[in-house]
């Protein structure tokens, strides 16, 4: 299971045009979702869409602009929850634009998903890393105390 979502898409339109559609609120609303976005770092904004009860989602994505490199990179945090200020999804969306012959290559990354780091860590454990750490621990204990953990 991939834990970072990555998409790559080529648009046969100039970089400046694609950037506009990623950063102007009225244009974004036409393909993404209704929003009050502004391409200013630190500004909070929202996307509004229909709720999805099975995902504990009330229909509002709470976002904050993290990075803006005009025409090249755009990043914002993307959080949601069941409502009443509770947040169960905490992720980050990163857009990168590259000019190409006859158009623009767009790279999208959607990462974070809250506990992803913890999930990775425990996936690692389930695959045997814990044995390696225990072996190191045993060796260290033997060296220091001359006995192993009980």
């Amino acid at each position: 299971m991939a834990k970072i979502i990555k998409h790559q898409f080529f648009f046969s339109h100039p970089q400046e045009t694609v950037w506009e559609y990623l950063t102007k609120s009225e244009l974004m609303a036409q393909w993404l979702m209704k929003n009050d976005f502004q391409p200013i770092v630190g500004v909070d904004f929202q996307f509004r869409t229909g709720p999805i009860p099975s995902l504990n989602f009330d229909g509002i994505f709470y976002c904050k602009v993290l990075e803006v490199v005009p025409f090249k990179k755009l990043s914002y945090s993307w959080k949601s929850g069941p409502g009443e200020g509770k947040i169960t999804l905490d992720s980050v969306v990163i857009w990168k634009l590259e000019p190409k012959d006859k158009g623009t290559e767009v790279f999208l990354e959607h990462r974070g998903f809250a506990k992803k780091e913890n999930l990775d860590f425990y996936n690692g454990l389930l695959h045997g890393w814990v044995e390696k750490f225990q072996n190191i621990d045993k060796l260290l204990n033997a060296a220091h105390h001359g006995n192993t953990n009980s």
Partner: protein
């Protein structure tokens, strides 16, 4: 630990018996799992019971599937919008 808990709730001591790790080390792992929302801990009698919260995993996977499809569709929509509104 998560695999063991997926079969049954266990006390921290029972969990620890399955690993060649000190009890404080097991507690550390349990704390991380608890903070991450994957397990819940209840004190019953003199024991601490750990129970797997299936919700945490399933919600995460559900969001991943949802967004993967969501972005694919949105990018297509953007493409159509650009192609219909503007000359290439």
């Amino acid at each position: 630990m998560l695999m063991l808990l997926s079969e049954d709730s266990l006390t921290i001591n029972s969990l620890a018996d399955n690993f060649d790790m000190s009890r404080p080390a097991v507690s550390k792992h349990i704390k991380i799992l608890d903070n991450a929302g994957f397990i819940s801990i209840q004190d019953i009698g003199r024991e601490r019971y750990c129970t797997l919260k299936k919700d945490g995993f399933e919600e995460l996977q559900a969001w991943l599937s949802y967004f993967d499809q969501f972005w694919g569709a949105k990018l297509k929509k953007l493409e159509n919008l650009l192609n219909n509104k503007l000359p290439n």
